[in-house]
Symmetry: C2
Subunit: 291 residues, 2 copies
């Protein structure tokens, strides 16, 4: 059995950076509090907890003068202000790509563009960006876009993990409502590459395994993309969810993972698939030609 | 028989203005030279010629110290320069909406945006806009858009008569190639309204007549829009092209006209249709509910 691992799967650069920053801080401080889950992966959260990285849900829960890490999604400025009032040490692990979006939103507002964010209004990244400007429009669906009134100006930024088809759709509608529109395509390249590779890999293999938290939106998107072209697609969080019967008459397996899936979970899954194949072939890493 | 005349048909504001400016100038100067056809309508051109407005094809044909009118489409700055060298009196009848597009292209270039014009590369309006900036991209087809390389910045303006569907298509592609794109939707509202009214009117009546020069691109677009929803659509230049047999079993006729069709030609057509109907009903003007 051939096992093909996607090159682009797993931790993105921003997540890797946030996890490393948190681990480094625990070495000095012992305990570090993460405002919300540091990453959307329950297994990794458990491992990090053992290292001293504890999740808290809101600023109210914070014990003054402790250390708090801001995760890669970023936060609104009012959260930073509230943290400062608690007199905590802040480790800002906001992904620099997300920080750049926050800055772009601010500069659009300075140039007198009403700001519009394309993305999920409930996602912490979008909430963080939105907090940097006054009353931005947040557009998540075609209906949201259609409700936008005619305006002389509009400035647009995107959530890093926005579906690229939604960006096309939204701009093709907005361009008829707005006389002067400035659009920053801030979709993260890592997301795009990961999705494209998953699509191609799923077409090439008999079975696809997509690893990542069930609460991770980017992993779920990967799974849906894979499922569309390969019905033998499975979304799992860890190796022990894999069932031997999946592999009857299967000659090739593709494996990819969401942005918040650590390398050790990917390795466990690959090991488990190798054990099932019982043929001990070498694992072909990065075979997928699309990366 | 009911005759419904579209409210939005005929001379647009910019064309009406250019014709009036030329006629006024003949009162003072006797002869006025138009650089290219003042409007795309052979019948009106003939009438204007009798009033003293003569067409010339290029700056080379110009007799020094005469009066030259720049038509509503506008010209590149080098043409103005060449005219000044000939020491002629210039009457600039460039449509103010077109002038605004030229200015936007210049300001985009000043803000370091490479400039892109969506429109017909051979149309004098587009040639005029293009002449105001250095090496703009001119995109006319989907293939042109797809050939655009990935770039950090791009500024976009549109020909006033651009098909709005092409604007949607082009922007939905460009937004994935350009990190920061600024789009001015400079499609003239008169064009949009005229096209929408033609579409609705063609659906309501048994027969459609679209009046305008066969060389007028906006009239041809109106005809194609009408033909798509009503097979009984006819593109004519003047009343004498109308044939009685068209009206067998016809109970309602819709009439519209391109932006360069003068009112007197529309009146002639309406009169001819009334004569054919031989019932002498009052003409219902602007019945179409869409305006």
């Amino acid at each position: 059995m051939k096992i093909v691992i996607a090159r682009s799967g797993g931790f993105c650069w921003g997540v890797k950076r946030a996890v490393n920053m948190a681990i480094e801080a625990t070495k000095e401080k012992g305990i570090v509090y993460s405002l919300g889950e540091l990453i959307h992966n329950p297994q990794e959260i458990k491992r990090l907890e053992n290292l001293g990285i504890k999740k808290i849900n809101s600023v109210d829960e914070i014990i003054p003068e402790t250390t708090v890490i801001i995760r890669s999604h970023g936060v609104p400025p009012k959260t930073i202000k509230a943290l400062k009032e608690k007199n905590v040490k802040i480790i800002d692990a906001t992904c620099p790509f997300v920080k750049a979006i926050q800055d772009k939103a601010v500069s659009l507002e300075k140039e007198h563009f009403p700001v519009c964010i394309l993305g999920n209004s409930k996602h912490p990244e979008v909430i963080g960006i939105a907090g940097h400007v006054r009353d931005p429009f947040i557009l998540e669906t075609k209906e949201d876009v259609e409700k936008i009134p005619e305006m002389p100006k509009l400035g647009v930024v995107c959530q890093t993990t926005l579906n690229s088809e939604f960006l096309s759709l939204a701009t093709s509608i907005l361009v008829h409502k707005i006389k002067e529109i400035k659009i920053y395509n801030t979709i993260c390249k890592a997301t795009k590459v990961r999705q494209e590779e998953a699509r191609k890999l799923a077409q090439e293999v008999d079975l696809m395994i997509i690893i990542g938290g069930k609460n991770s939106s980017n992993t779920t998107k990967l799974y849906l993309i894979s499922k569309k072209v390969n019905k033998n697609s499975y979304h799992i969080e860890s190796a022990d969810e894999i069932k031997e019967e999946w592999f009857d008459n299967i000659k090739s397996v593709g494996i990819t993972a969401g942005a918040s899936t650590p390398q050790w979970i990917i390795e466990e899954v690959v090991g488990r698939v190798e054990t099932i194949s019982k043929r001990g072939q070498a694992v072909e890493r990065g075979f997928c030609k699309t990366t």
